[in-house]
Symmetry: D2
Subunit: 289 residues, 4 copies
Amino acid sequence: MAKKERGTTAILLIHCPDQQGILATVTEFININGGNIVYLDQHVDRVEKVFFMRVEWELENFVIPKDRINEYFNTLYAQKYDMDFRLYFSDYKPNMAVFVSKMSHCLFDMLARYTAGEWAVNIPLIISNHEDLRDVADRFGIPYHHIPITKENKTEQEEATLKLLEDSKVDFIVLARYMQILSDKMIAKYPDKIINIHHSFLPAFIGAKPYHAAHERGVKLIGATSHYVTAELDAGPIIGQDITRISHKDTVEDLVRKGCDLEKIVLSKAVGKHIARKILTYKNKTVVF
Amino acid sequence: MAKKERGTTAILLIHCPDQQGILATVTEFININGGNIVYLDQHVDRVEKVFFMRVEWELENFVIPKDRINEYFNTLYAQKYDMDFRLYFSDYKPNMAVFVSKMSHCLFDMLARYTAGEWAVNIPLIISNHEDLRDVADRFGIPYHHIPITKENKTEQEEATLKLLEDSKVDFIVLARYMQILSDKMIAKYPDKIINIHHSFLPAFIGAKPYHAAHERGVKLIGATSHYVTAELDAGPIIGQDITRISHKDTVEDLVRKGCDLEKIVLSKAVGKHIARKILTYKNKTVVF
Amino acid sequence: MAKKERGTTAILLIHCPDQQGILATVTEFININGGNIVYLDQHVDRVEKVFFMRVEWELENFVIPKDRINEYFNTLYAQKYDMDFRLYFSDYKPNMAVFVSKMSHCLFDMLARYTAGEWAVNIPLIISNHEDLRDVADRFGIPYHHIPITKENKTEQEEATLKLLEDSKVDFIVLARYMQILSDKMIAKYPDKIINIHHSFLPAFIGAKPYHAAHERGVKLIGATSHYVTAELDAGPIIGQDITRISHKDTVEDLVRKGCDLEKIVLSKAVGKHIARKILTYKNKTVVF
Amino acid sequence: MAKKERGTTAILLIHCPDQQGILATVTEFININGGNIVYLDQHVDRVEKVFFMRVEWELENFVIPKDRINEYFNTLYAQKYDMDFRLYFSDYKPNMAVFVSKMSHCLFDMLARYTAGEWAVNIPLIISNHEDLRDVADRFGIPYHHIPITKENKTEQEEATLKLLEDSKVDFIVLARYMQILSDKMIAKYPDKIINIHHSFLPAFIGAKPYHAAHERGVKLIGATSHYVTAELDAGPIIGQDITRISHKDTVEDLVRKGCDLEKIVLSKAVGKHIARKILTYKNKTVVF
């Protein structure tokens, strides 16, 4: 799976009120300044009249210095078109924290990808409210922080967590079957930067024990949903979903086992898209390029 | 797709408290009396300790007369094992009523199968609260009864409907995107005999306008669910479910269009299973053989 | 499913060697001449270095007269960029011929959509090498031409068929489980205009009796493939594919029955995409927008 | 996911010519000798007239000693009914060898399940024709044997491999993207005991580089197939298959990446079924209970 070596690219994610000519304007900005576009995708929500765009270009011959692109783009276009934009560079590897509790399948799946070099990311730490998965972290040589949480210590323990995240310059967080509800403060600090996996096809079976609820209801499909975490439980922007068939033969234990395979793939796909800067959020929904 | 001609078969659907030897007992009953088993499937719910079974055998050399099998089986086994059982014969074609409103896709799909001889069923009548689909019924030569429903006339119109169903000796009812809620009286009269298609993966998006709700929530999958109708809205035993992928590009209209393809296949599969006597219900769930 | 009434739109499908600025150029051409873009999607094959685009715009305020757009676009851009382009207008309903043999499921599915107004298309005739489906055509009031084919009469019967297609000004042909191989002459006359459904996931099980072959091989999935017909059997550009799970319990008859549901949906989706001018072909592959 | 502790069970897999009463006979044998059946599934291939059965029962109160069950069953029933049967006990953990080359995704997935205790199996060794994955084996503390293979040394290296397998008392082998073709001798030594993952939906794209072939053909689905290895390449009994959708946007690299997620899940599911003794083979097909 050898890839051609490619120089640093810039990635621009934009959304703004739709109007004629935006796409042409942005691509022209890149073209006339010597950027070679290697990816371009756009979407227009014609009901909301919003324009979304992801464009990626090589910086090798781009005449605007890398550290001035943001300023130039903001001055020349973003203000004029009332754009909400984010600029990323491919040579920056974001720092990702993983939160876990007791189940290892999602953690193993991510660490396998990380180790195999599938993701351009660093994992400076794993945080858990249990000791159970320290052994997994050790196998991969990643610092493991056990931060047990009780009703009494929840606030201070979350402060300690926030401190750890800051010290490690964490850019985003993955909740890999982490069975604690985050405080509003932490959520507010990482908007669209906390990815959770919920073990049902949302909005069905919100909250605890969705496989038990699915079995009780007698559904013929079970699912998993990756989403960004917002203040409302299991109600943030959905990134991806998948399902698998079940039948009357399946016990709750079978559902849990079959669900694990779904969860890890759905979560890792979402993380991969996030790392590749392919997700835009707008009004509690995602545009996934 | 030529099928070997087969004589009349008996179909026995059973559930009862699980205990050792039931399966052996029932198969022996059929074998020693000269029945040739052509289908046998069983399921044991080991949590609830319930035994489920579907067995089908040829009557050609069966020594018990067809019209006495029910009595014999009841006397010899059903009482002893506390069985809930139903006996059907393959040479009886059930009468199926179809209820529709304005959308034609499910109706067309069922009439196509009916006309092609895929189902061993009669369709003596189609009932609708609108005139829109009379033309479809006419194409297939099936009587179409327009029974408009308002708040004021709902009770008497349902009486008229019940009368029609009785006159046509209707065995079961299919709600093919029928947009009226049935009365408890009608539901009680046809227990596990009214099949509905709901245009979402239940239990998500119960009630009206599920595609709008799905679009609003920003899900990445839409679904359809066939189920038996019970007194509680969209909460009866689920027969089948399927989903299709959607993305941010899809408008509500796209969801409706894509959903139609799901709905008709999910509904027709449920109807086919019902006609083939392959569904057992127990505690608001189905066992689908 | 009421749609907002929309005026006539123009649809432009383009592919050409990729180079900087093409997208900007084409969108600017539409914008500066008063066209309101309602759909735009593009794709760049970075290996083949080919640019693909589909753009649709409202003609209401477009300054170039409808019947001159082709000429203007060709003169101003197509030659310069070495473009292969096709221009369509939404107010032209194409004429679609359907070829069938004995199985009715695909035909019924298409006629249901046609009758319900899902497709902007005319069906002036149905052609078959058998009499079996005349009754279906009659139900929908569509002329049915029985053109039986033997080894001896194949050439002259195909001439008769071609004559019929020309007389009805047929734009494209759908083979809805038509069990005859078309001549190279007919295929050459309708390039990328004959859609076939093959009852397997191509390239597995090319040719006759794929369900028998699938059963023999013991696969756990069966599939269906829609594709444009080319001179090589079952080897034309693939438009769409889908599969369903099977198990050791399924007989060949079960495969046929389950496959029918796949075939009709996969075929109708392809036909819908073709009618909506959403398919581009290039080097024996499709770009489906 | 706490499971009730369960005593040792016996698992019997049977196939034989179908005749009346076999199921009753076998279940009676277990029941009257004090076995408590915890799983029973059967299948009759009515075309081939073959009966298949999997039954599992608790040995706690079973009157026949564990080490005599095989003999008793053979004497009393197997010869009489011309049965091909295998008897297993749940307290024996089979030894599984894993063969790999350079790609780590399948290996990681299996080792994660192994470490998490999902499988009742031992992994005494990993064998590879490359050094690349030694690091993965080391993380999990499993002996890694590098056995490079060239045209010249193939025979002797395979002898060395066979010796290793015997020394470790290996019961079955998993080829986790092992890119060497096994000799007929090795295949003959482990009949229905070598599980391979092929990165296409067989029988399409047999042999090397199936993703390149899939991209070249322009398919809209890619797949993965787990199967037992037989002398004919990629033609052994299929255990499981799955697919994922692709589009014109996907490069060969995208196919490889998306395919990896399929491969590892399809392979691990097959391995799990094999370990649980849920697979029967018959005439180059599988019955998977």
